[in-house]
Amino acid sequence: MDLVYLTFILILSIFLGFELIQKVPATLHTPLMSGANAISGITLVGALAGAGSDGSALTVLLGTMAVAFATINVVGGYLVTDRMLAMFKKKNVNK
C-alpha cells in the first residue's frame, strides 16, 4: 500500500512541478536553478535519522557526512539565491 501511495505522490508532484516551472521567465532561470538546488537539499531530512541514530559507526559517519553536504546545499543555495534576487530591479524604482 505504501508503494502505491508514494508513487501517487510522486506522479502528482512531477505534474505540479512541470506546471509551476513552465511559468518562470528566462530572466529568472539562474535563481530558479539555485533555488531548486536548495530544495533538493531536502535529503537533509533523511540524513538526520542516520546521523542521530544509535546504529553502527558506519551509519553515524555516513549520516553525519550526508548532513554536512546537504546543509551546504540548503544554506548555500538559499543564501545565494536571495543574494541574486535582491539585485533584480525594475526600471522606475531607482528614479
Partner: protein, 454 residues
C-alpha cells in the same frame, strides 16, 4: 504515534510552502519572497524531523550542520556572480552525494523488501552519477579541467557497457544484499558513469548538462525518499527533478539539438562543405565607434559569455546610461544559452543594476531588429551566427539565433578573430554592415565611455 502524525502534518505544510515558493518565482517582483517562503518550508521540515524518536543523539547532527552552514554561508557570500555556474554545479553534486549516503544508511533499517533495495540502489546510482558528473562539470566550468569535449574511440560502446554493468550490479545487489561487495561496486560504477557521461560535453553545452544534473539531484533525493519511506523527500525531489528537466528541454531547443545529441555526440565535428564566407573583415577604432553611437537613436546590446569573462557588465551599464542621457533607446537581447548556465547573463546585468525590463528575450527582439541603429555584440559568437539561418551544412544550422545582422550596423567587440566555442567561423564578421572592434571588451567599452564623458 502523536509525533509521527505531527511530523507528517508539518511535512504537508512544508510541501505547500515549497510549492508557493516556486510559484512566486514566476515573476521578478515576487521571486525574492518566494525564495524566503521556500526556505521557511525547509526550516520547518528540518526542525520537525529533529523531534523524531529514532533520533537519540544530537551531537553528530550538530557537527554536520555547523560544518555545512559555515561552508554554505561562506561560499554563498563570497562567490562572484560570474562564477555562479560552477557554484551551482558543485552544489548539485553535494545534493547527489548526500542522497547516495542516505540511501546507503537506509540499508541498516530492518525489514528490507526487494522494492526498498531497488530504491536504495537507485539513490546510489543517481546520487553517484550526480556527484561525480557535477564535479567534472565544476572542473570544466572553473577551467580546472579542459573545457573541450574529451572524446575517444569507442566511447559510446564503453559507456553502454558501463551502464549495463551498473544494472547488472544493481540486480546482484538487490538479490544478495548481505554481500557488501555489490554495494561497493555499485558506488564505484555509478561514480565512474558520472565522470564518463560529462567528459564528452563541451563548454558551450554546459547550460544543458548543468540543468540535467540539477534534475538528477532532485531525482536522487526522490529515490532516497522511497528508500526511507519519506513523502517530503519525494515531493521536493520530484519538484526539482521536473524543474531541471524543463530547463534542460528549453536549453536543447535553444540550440536546436536533442538531449541525446548533446550527451553522446561531443559537438565539434565541423562540416566544411558549407562553402566559403564572402566579404572582408572591417575593423573600427573605439573613437570612430563613438561617433556612430553618438548619432544613434536606438542601440541593442547582445551579451555573451565573453562579457562575463571580461567582467564588463558594469561598464556596459555605464555606457547604457550615457547613451540614454544622449536620447538614445537602449535594450538588451538575451539568448537562452548565452553564458554557461540558463539565465546567466540576466544575473550579471542585474548585478550591474540594469533593470530587468530592459532585458528582452530572443523572440521579442528579433521582429524589431531592423529598427535598431546599432547592435553591439559583446563576447557572443555562436548565438548571433547567421550560418544557423543560412548555411545548411553548418553544425549549428537550424539553431534559433538573435538576428544581429539585421540591425543597421553591427559592432562586434572581440579579442581576436578566434572562433567561438563551437569552433565555427562566423559570417557575421564579414558582413558589410559589421565593424569589428578588437581588444578586451571591458577596455573597449571604457574607452567609449570616456569618449562620451569628454
Amino acid at each position: 504515534m502523536q509525533t509521527t502524525l505531527l511530523i507528517n502534518l508539518s511535512y504537508t505544510v512544508a510541501a505547500v510552502l515549497f510549492i508557493f515558493g516556486l510559484k512566486l518565482l514566476g515573476s521578478p517582483a515576487t521571486a525574492r519572497r518566494g525564495n524566503t517562503i521556500s526556505a521557511l518550508g525547509m526550516l520547518l521540515a528540518v526542525v520537525i524531523t529533529l523531534l523524531d524518536q529514532a533520533i537519540v543523539d544530537y551531537r553528530w547532527i550538530l557537527l554536520g550542520m555547523v560544518i555545512g552552514t559555515a561552508v554554505g554561508a561562506f561560499t554563498a557570500r563570497m562567490v562572484a556572480m560570474t562564477a555562479m555556474p560552477e557554484m551551482v554545479a558543485l552544489f548539485n553534486g553535494f545534493g547527489g552525494i548526500a542522497s547516495l549516503m542516505v540511501g546507503w544508511v537506509a540499508l541498516a533499517q530492518p525489514g528490507l523488501t526487494t522494492f526498498l533495495l531497488l530504491t536504495i540502489f537507485l539513490s546510489i546510482l543517481i546520487g553517484g552519477v550526480t556527484f561525480t558528473g557535477s564535479l567534472v562539470a565544476w572542473g570544466k566550468l572553473s577551467e580546472k579541467l579542459p573545457g573541450r569535449p574529451i572524446l575517444f574511440h569507442g566511447q559510446r560502446l564503453v559507456n553502454g557497457a558501463l551502464l549495463l554493468a551498473n544494472f547488472a550490479c544493481g540486480a546482484m545487489f538487490i538479490f544478495n544484499p548481505e554481500q557488501g561487495l555489490w554495494l561497493y561496486l555499485a558506488v564505484v560504477l555509478s561514480a565512474t558513469l558520472g565522470v564518463m557521461t560529462v567528459i564528452p560535453i563541451g563548454g558551450a553545452d554546459m547550460p544543458v548538462i548543468i540543468s540535467l544534473l540539477n534534475s538528477y539531484s532532485g531525482l536522487a533525493a526522490c529515490a532516497a525518499g522511497f528508500a526511507i519511506n519519506n513523502n517530503i523527500l519525494i515531493v521536493a525531489g520530484s519538484l526539482v527533478g521536473a524543474s531541471g528537466i524543463i530547463l534542460t528541454n528549453i536549453m536543447c531547443k535553444a540550440m536546436n539539438r536533442t538531449l541525446g545529441n548533446v550527451l553522446f555526440s561531443g559537438f565539434g565535428a565541423v562540416d566544411e562543405s558549407g562553402g566559403k564566407i564572402e566579404g572582408e573583415v572591417t575593423a573600427l577604432s573605439a573613437e570612430d565607434a563613438y561617433y556612430v553611437l553618438e548619432a544613434a537613436q536606438s542601440v541593442v546590446v547582445i551579451p555573451g559569455y565573453g562579457m562575463a569573462v571580461a567582467q564588463a557588465q558594469h561598464v556596459v551599464k555605464e555606457l547604457q546610461e550615457l547613451l540614454e542621457k544622449n536620447g538614445c533607446e537602449v535594450a538588451y537581447a538575451i539568448h537562452p544559452v548565452a553564458g554557461r548556465m540558463p539565465g546567466h547573463m540576466n544575473v550579471l546585468l542585474a548585478e550591474a543594476d540594469v533593470p530587468y525590463d530592459l532585458l528582452l528575450e530572443m523572440d521579442d527582439i528579433n521582429p524589431r531588429m531592423e529598427t535598431f541603429d546599432v547592435a553591439i555584440v559583446i563576447g557572443a559568437n555562436d548565438v548571433v551566427n547567421p550560418a544557423a539561418r543560412e548555411t545548411p551544412g553548418s553544425p549549428i544550422y537550424g539553431m534559433p539565433i538573435i538576428n544581429a545582422d539585421y540591425a543597421r550596423s553591427v559592432f562586434v567587440l572581440k579579442r581576436s578573430m578566434a572562433s567561438g566555442f563551437a569552433g565555427l567561423d562566423n559570417p557575421l564578421f564579414y558582413r558589410k554592415n559589421t565593424r569589428m572592434i578588437f581588444g578586451d571588451a571591458k577596455e573597449t567599452l571604457s574607452r567609449l565611455v570616456r569618449e562620451f564623458s569628454t
